[in-house]
């Protein structure tokens, strides 16, 4: 008696499992990791979707492009605007179906395919204990004392590096190449990715690092360390948006749509700050946790849309490379 009961329970359980649809989300490593937003988002979404959310981590854009329409992905999370043009051209992504007006961003969001879920300002982060004066402009960076060094990322291998190059281009226009030449002596080195650069900064090798204005929030919250601060430049800052998109060829369109709705929901948005250390895109600043609201933020936003970014990219990177190779 007991045995048959046990067996039938097991059978029905496995049957149920077999039927649960799977929502495959492609996301970057830091997102899907244990310390990123991934696990919390998975738990929250699975409460209501009746599905099994599975993350697949790795290089997003190349993978999608390699896989084409036979991709398993239903949702792709973690793209950013500087590369969306290429992504859009694949024709693989569908409308996100959300109301852009609900987004609380420093610029007006017009894109119907790619939906920002969090954002921050690209900015330099420095160690207040070590610097005598806080840099407040790009020119201040050039005028740093000789023993204070900056570390940046390579725009050819790092998305944050690319954002910096575009930022400088936006501020200096034709004079960008000249700026890089002037900044070059203060640059300690260039790393291939954000984490190496940030590591150099926290380990004391560099005094200033290219990162995001929200980076100090991690140190304040997790380490109770208030010495790391973001430099706010009067010229204005370049925003960095992280995007989510639905894949057209998804085999579970209803669930995918539900996920896109979920992205805009306050459950999702409130998970973001303390796991991804960025501003939530669909919440206004009075809904943010206090530490985020108190972070210094720029008054001015300068921005290239994806078309401008795509057009300028090669020449801007080439200028950068030339200036720094001298």
């Amino acid at each position: 008696m007991k045995n048959t009961l046990l067996i039938s329970t097991m059978l029905s359980a496995t049957a149920a499992l077999a039927e649960t649809p799977v929502l495959t989300v492609y996301a970057p490593d830091y997102f899907a990791s244990e310390w990123g937003p991934g696990p919390a988002i998975e738990a929250e979404f699975e409460k209501t979707c009746g599905c099994d959310l599975q993350f697949s981590a790795g290089d997003l854009l190349p993978r999608i492009m390699l896989e084409g329409s036979s991709t398993d992905a239903d949702i792709v999370i973690g793209l950013n605007t500087d590369v969306t043009k290429k992504a859009r051209e694949t024709g693989l992504f569908a409308e996100h179906g959300q109301k852009n007006a609900d987004l609380k961003l420093p610029i007006e969001w017009m894109d119907g395919t790619f939906l920002p879920f969090d954002w921050a300002y690209v900015s330099f982060v420095y160690n207040a204990d070590k610097m005598s004066a806080m840099p407040t402009s790009f020119e201040d960076l050039v005028n740093l004392p000789a023993d204070q060094k900056i570390v940046i990322q390579d725009p050819r291998s790092s998305i944050s590096g690319l954002a910096l190059v575009l930022w400088v281009k936006a501020v200096y226009g034709d004079k960008a190449a000249d700026y890089w030449t002037r900044l070059s002596p203060n640059i300690l080195t260039v790393t291939s990715g954000w984490s190496e650069a940030y590591g150099l900064f926290t380990e004391g090798e560099a005094d200033v690092v290219l990162s995001f204005n929200t980076s100090p929030s991690y140190h304040i919250v997790a380490e109770e360390d208030e010495t790391k601060k973001a430099a706010i430049f009067e010229e204005g800052h370049y925003p960095y948006f992280e995007l989510a998109a639905k894949v057209s060829s998804t085999d579970v369109p209803d669930i995918a749509d539900a996920f896109m709705d979920f992205v805009m929901s306050s459950e999702f948005q409130s998970i973001i700050p303390f796991t991804n250390w960025s501003y939530p895109a669909a919440q206004s600043s009075d809904e943010w946790p206090e530490v985020f609201a108190n972070l210094p933020a720029p008054a001015k936003t300068i921005y290239f849309d994806e078309q401008q970014a795509a057009d300028l990219r090669n020449s801007a990177v080439e200028e950068w490379r030339n200036a720094l190779s001298k």
């Binding site: 991934g38 390699l66 896989e67 260039v190 940030y198 150099l200 380990e203």
Partner: protein
């Protein structure tokens, strides 16, 4: 094979920009300099180690393998601790009122490359010194030859035999160096082909270009291998062992030798100690996921090591070795993508992730295994070939009963090395890994990209300890079961 897959997928036009050419030139330059420097330092060091028999020599040699197996970024962190701007050396110099030295630039790249590759060079050459028949040394002494003549006649031939292949291997390794070169190179001047491939693939999605650049990389590697094969003389077929008798009885030489060993050891161990120092406080508080990742790493590494041995034995001849070294020169990115492209039509690569990782790790460790066992196999063949033919042993029998037992020492070390390499691998797993099956290095990377550098430091120490343990254990086992 995966490279061809990529190139075919891509297309035909060859359009390298100026920056690509610069990258190629720089890549080859730093690879050559790194290889030559590493070997140059390795020669006297391995000689000193071979000659002086002191207590704990074998353990020291095992430990000195550490830099080679660590993931690049961890080792860099350790190196910077010592040599960086705020590193110990500069702090020392500062307190003495001297100018600080900058490790950023070509010199920094060379420094770190030597740091990484010196263990390998020392290992290859170490067994070489032991392969010189002791009688040669004695004859030379008895004939009252001066020191230079002794070196030229007794030791140089062995070097001419082993140095080219050691240099070629290290050249090939440095050819695909990426993060090191960029970070320590100080900027885009120090761009390598690998970075260009990276950019072509990840940003531009220009697969054709990525494939072409990869071909260039492999092309250089092939040239290097051919040169080294040509230069190698067919003289040395000695057994590798560490001599226990002193080959010189001069006290000054002993002091010089020991001094050199100490200096090199400090150079190599200091950054390792720095890594430990930084991470030890955090070792206690490691979250469970780290331990899980460690277990996963072991779970992957063991079969990798076994596979490696099998593949190596299968490829155990000169041609096989050349092929395997070529594999080293392929950028892991290209390898991964190439495989991805080839496999995808048949199975979803991500289902067989673990299998691919195991195999790739095995393949990448094969050249080192071969370099260690080939001389031994050749010698055994020449020693026992006639005998086994008279006993009418089959080839299989010869392998099992004659050759294999004599390989135990080298196989032991190779197993440990492959294990350690696989434990510390980051390149392959990044391409095919997934957070659920994270290996330890992968987890460390996740921690670093998620701001958690302290935990990453702690996990790095764990990784280091695991790698060292595997090397020391298998080195020791190999020695114990060596049938000499």
């Amino acid at each position: 094979m995966p490279i061809l897959g990529l190139a075919v997928y891509g297309g035909e036009d060859l359009n390298f920009t100026a920056s690509d050419i610069a990258a190629i030139r720089f890549t080859v330059l730093q690879a050559i300099l790194s290889a030559v420097s590493s070997v140059a330092v390795a020669i006297p060091t391995s000689r000193a180690l071979a000659r002086q028999n002191f207590k704990g020599r074998e353990v020291l040699i095992s430990i000195l393998s550490a830099p080679f197996i660590l993931p690049v970024i961890i080792a860099i962190s350790g190196v910077l601790f010592i040599f960086g701007r705020e590193g110990m050396i500069n702090q020392l110099l500062g307190s003495l009122g001297q100018e600080s030295v900058s490790v950023y630039g070509l010199s920094g790249i060379l420094l770190v490359h030597v740091f990484f590759n010196l263990p390998l060079a020392i290992r290859i050459l170490l067994f070489g010194w032991g392969a010189i028949p002791i009688e040669h040394h004695r004859v030379a002494r008895g004939l009252n030859l001066n020191a230079w003549a002794r070196f030229k006649i007794v030791e140089l031939p062995m070097l001419l035999f082993r140095v080219p292949s050691a240099t070629a291997i290290i050249f090939v390794i440095c050819l695909s160096s990426f993060a090191v070169a960029l970070l320590l190179g100080g900027g885009p001047r120090a761009t390598t082909v690998e970075l260009a491939i990276y950019q072509a693939f990840r940003f531009d999605f220009d697969i054709a270009k990525a494939g072409q650049l990869a071909l260039v990389q492999t092309g250089f590697a092939t040239v290097a291998i051919i040169i080294s094969l040509a230069v190698m003389k067919r003289l040395d077929v000695g057994i590798g062992y560490l001599p226990t008798e002193p080959m010189v009885d001069s006290r000054t030489m002993r002091v010089i030798d020991l001094g050199m060993i100490m200096m090199v050891s400090i150079f190599m161990l200091a950054p390792i100690l720095a890594v430990i120092y930084r991470g030890l406080p955090h070792l206690i508080a490691l979250p469970t996921s780290v331990w899980n990742a460690a277990a996963t790493s072991v779970f992957i590494a063991m079969p990798s090591a076994v596979c490696c041995i099998f593949i190596a034995l299968f490829l155990a001849h000169r041609l096989g070795e050349s092929i395997s070294i070529l594999a080293l020169s392929i950028s892991p990115l290209v390898l991964g993508v190439g495989l991805f492209v080839i496999i995808r039509p048949y199975i979803n690569p991500f289902d067989v992730t673990l299998l691919i990782v195991v195999l790739l790790n095995a393949v990448l460790a094969v050249p080192f295994t071969l370099r260690l066992i080939l001389p031994e196999i050749e010698k055994t063949r020449s020693d026992f070939g006639y005998l086994s033919r008279t006993m009418r042993m089959t080839a299989w029998g010869m392998w099992v009963w004659v050759i294999l037992p004599r390989l135990f020492r080298q196989l032991g070390f190779s197993f440990g090395l492959t294990l350690a390499l696989s434990l510390g691998d980051l390149g392959v797993i990044v391409l095919f890994g997934s957070p659920e099956n994270a290996t330890l290095p992968y987890l460390i990377m996740q921690l670093r990209t998620g701001y958690r550098l302290d935990t990453a430091a702690g996990a790095s120490v764990l990784l280091l300890i695991m790698c060292l343990i595997s090397i020391v254990i298998f080195d020791g086992l190999g020695r114990r079961y060596a049938k000499y």
